[in-house]
């Protein structure tokens, strides 16, 4: 098992139901391919560093999970297909997670796995919008 982190940005004006649907889909991929979710963070709507498909804002989500490479491929394929997702990026955190460490992570994970993080301010307000 490897540990990955996928960060993705969705259209900011989507409703909560749309987001729930998307997250549910990602969760089902994770369970069907025997991945383990460590945490899922919702950073809320943030200003983007540059415009993506004419959006200057986007809602950020961070998924931290244990998986095999084929799961990442499947997950990214789905993110690519979804027009709600503006951008995504997967980073490998560790190459080898021992079964014991994986168990510990699984137990430490919150039941719903959803943590809302709002204090993480990325692009400060004083920064002017990059006109691209």
């Amino acid at each position: 098992m490897r540990r990955y982190e996928t960060i993705f940005v969705t259209q900011p004006e989507l409703s909560d139901e749309d987001h729930a649907e998307l997250l549910e889909k990602l969760r089902s991929i994770l369970t069907s391919l025997k991945g383990d979710l460590v945490k899922l963070e919702d950073w809320g709507v943030k200003k983007l560093g540059y415009h993506i498909r004419k959006n200057s804002r986007g809602r950020y989500f961070l998924m931290d999970y244990l998986a095999t490479p084929n799961l990442v491929r499947e997950l990214e394929r789905n993110l690519r297909l979804s027009d709600r997702v503006l951008k995504f990026q997967t980073v490998k955190i560790s190459d080898q997670v021992s079964p014991e460490a994986a168990q510990a992570l699984k137990e430490a994970a919150p039941p719903e796995g959803m943590i809302k993080v709002t204090e993480r301010t990325s692009l400060p307000e004083e920064q002017e919008e990059g006109g691209i």
Binding site: L48, G49, Y50, L62, K87, Q89, R120, S122, G130, I132
Partner: protein, 82 residues
């Protein structure tokens, strides 16, 4: 016969110390835009090592992390001049 030495006109500069070496608790992470923001110019370019004083190892890590942040739009590639 020793030749007269010409003084260079460069002003003396204190040798800068890599902030990440000085404080080992500091981690470079693409999600942490706050710390990385000190290492870019107003235009959004990555500051060179000779300016920031970072060591080679940390500069290398920092560069990849900034590029990751740019890729996911946490940081801009360029900021338009006003």
């Amino acid at each position: 016969m020793p030749k007269p030495q010409f003084k260079k006109k460069r002003p003396f500069q204190r040798r800068k110390v890599c902030v990440f070496c000085a404080d080992s608790s500091m981690k470079i992470d693409y999600k942490d835009v706050k710390t990385m923001r000190h290492f870019i110019t107003e235009r959004g370019k990555i500051l060179p090592r000779r300016i920031s004083g970072n060591c080679a190892r940390h500069q290398r890590v920092l560069t990849t992390e900034i590029k990751r942040a740019r890729n996911i739009a946490l940081m801009p590639f360029s900021i338009a001049s006003s």
